[in-house]
Symmetry: C2
Subunit: 298 residues, 2 copies
């Protein structure tokens, strides 16, 4: 019997709280800079009250499910990684209970691990992947540490992380390339992105092609405003190439992104011949936490 | 008729000055944190006197030749890039004269440019490459922005830069990997380097394999001390793979390096099946500037 759901995507720097109806509709949403790094030891019940106390008043019988870094070693309590391959039922079965107050428990979802030669982990993204509802397919979740996952027969069989967003920030803001970078005009954005996508296919690799952002500007062949878009498209192209090498080519990619990331990854994927299905992170999270909540042990 | 030579490798942050005998022996050497970024406009004659004034007293008839960033737009005076392919004679012919005082001129060597799809430049490394005295071969000059060059029939035909050293610093000191990195023990260095070299051959590419430095430590499978050596060997391996894609495999690589760089690049090159000839940067510079000085127009 479904009940309303209070669901939190509780990450390192931010928390997103949702009140979701029995039918799966988002009734309320909130985003706050109240990630686990801002919560002191023992402070989770208070932080939860701050984030979603009014949702509890609105829906006193709601189930409460928390996903993301809240279940990490540095969070409320550690919910261990479930090794891949993992089904939604196996993920739900590894959830653990915490006490919000004497009358009320919340459920913390685990993360996933994968040992595909190198060890890898995710925490939070597995809920979005489950939300895609795929029986078979490839999911791409761009971000600071992008995740790609393979789903077979409804189980997440393996996945890989890419430091794309973080390395973009380092190159754009802290490297020698930063000195030449300027705020892009609209044509700079288009030109830089086209050049970066082309550079991702060049033979020398990332360490070589990143440097060209400098030399092309010094030679007067590229505008300073194109440096950021060039680096971004180059890194996205390198990430996609790496993911193709791991997960294969020529498949539909389920891209969990919105805004600028949806645009840049969508363009990068299409340029390399992929068919793309775009789902917003909120839609994927709400669907995924609903599926996992339905499978939780009583 | 050879004369003694006062030669400066005058870079952005550092300057190296040499007094070289007619026979090519280094009689005196000096290194100072007196790169061009520390020299004010108009301050070059004074900076030169500070760096090598006593060399002039010791050898009043010496030729004076300056290489490196001193010839850049931000240096003493711009000596334009010579486009590849370029012979030592063509490089020497593009040198320009500056006045140290009313009686004395010095010669500033140009840099090299290459337009092999993407535009690339070097300034200073060309002198070391000339110093290798190769008729045909591949040179590797590791550093903040490593250079690889191809030499055919005595001319530098093309080259490519790699941001290896700079990206190492960003990942090791400023990325999420820095938090887990510790000072390496001897066994950490060996283990991290072996793992990094292996990771450079994995399918996911740099953005994926860099992240494994984090997850392998979190999983307790790699020591924090191995993080730095892992990143270093991974990047060196990626640089070599990129250079192989550009310049071909199975050749002798003339490695211009000493100390830790000679060790890490030597190991990385040998692991990928290359034969390696190591030359120290000083030996390459002294030989190169001697050859170029001999070819200067009167």
């Amino acid at each position: 019997m479904p009940k309303p759901l209070i669901a939190l995507d509780w990450g390192t720097t931010r928390a997103r709280a949702f009140l979701i109806s029995e039918a799966g509709a988002v009734l309320e949403r909130r985003i706050a800079d109240r990630g686990i790094q801002s919560v002191p030891a023992g402070g989770y019940p208070d932080a939860f009250a701050e984030l979603a106390g009014d949702f509890r008043q609105a829906a006193p019988d709601a189930a409460i499910v928390l996903a993301g870094m809240v279940g990490s070693r540095n969070g409320w309590i550690e919910a261990r990684y479930v090794p891949c391959p993992a089904s939604p039922a196996e993920i739900a079965a590894a959830a653990i209970k915490v006490e919000l107050d004497a009358q009320t428990t919340a459920t913390i979802l685990p993360g996933l691990s994968c040992d595909d030669g190198a060890f890898d982990v995710m925490r939070g993204e597995e809920t979005l992947i489950v939300g895609l509802g795929l029986s078979d397919g490839i999911a791409c979740l761009p971000g600071t540490h992008s995740k790609w996952a393979e789903i077979r027969q409804g189980r997440i069989t393996r996945f890989a992380s890419f430091m794309t967003g973080e390395i973009y920030g380092l190159l754009r803001n802290d490297s020698i390339l930063a000195r030449l970078a300027e705020a892009p005009s609209e044509s700079d954005t288009a030109e830089g992105a086209a050049r970066g996508r082309a550079a991702a296919g060049r033979a020398g690799g990332l360490l070589n092609t990143a440097f060209a952002a400098r030399t092309e500007v010094l030679a007067g062949r590229m505008a300073g405003g194109a440096v950021g878009p060039y680096i971004s498209a180059l890194l996205v192209g390198q990430e996609i190439a790496g993911a193709e090498a791991l997960f294969g080519k020529g498949q539909t990619i389920h891209l969990v992104a919105d805004g600028a990331l949806a645009e840049s990854y969508g363009a990068g994927l299409q340029a390399r011949g992929h068919t793309v299905q775009i789902v917003s992170p909120e839609a994927a999270f709400v669907a995924g936490i609903g599926r996992l909540a339905a499978g939780l042990p009583a």
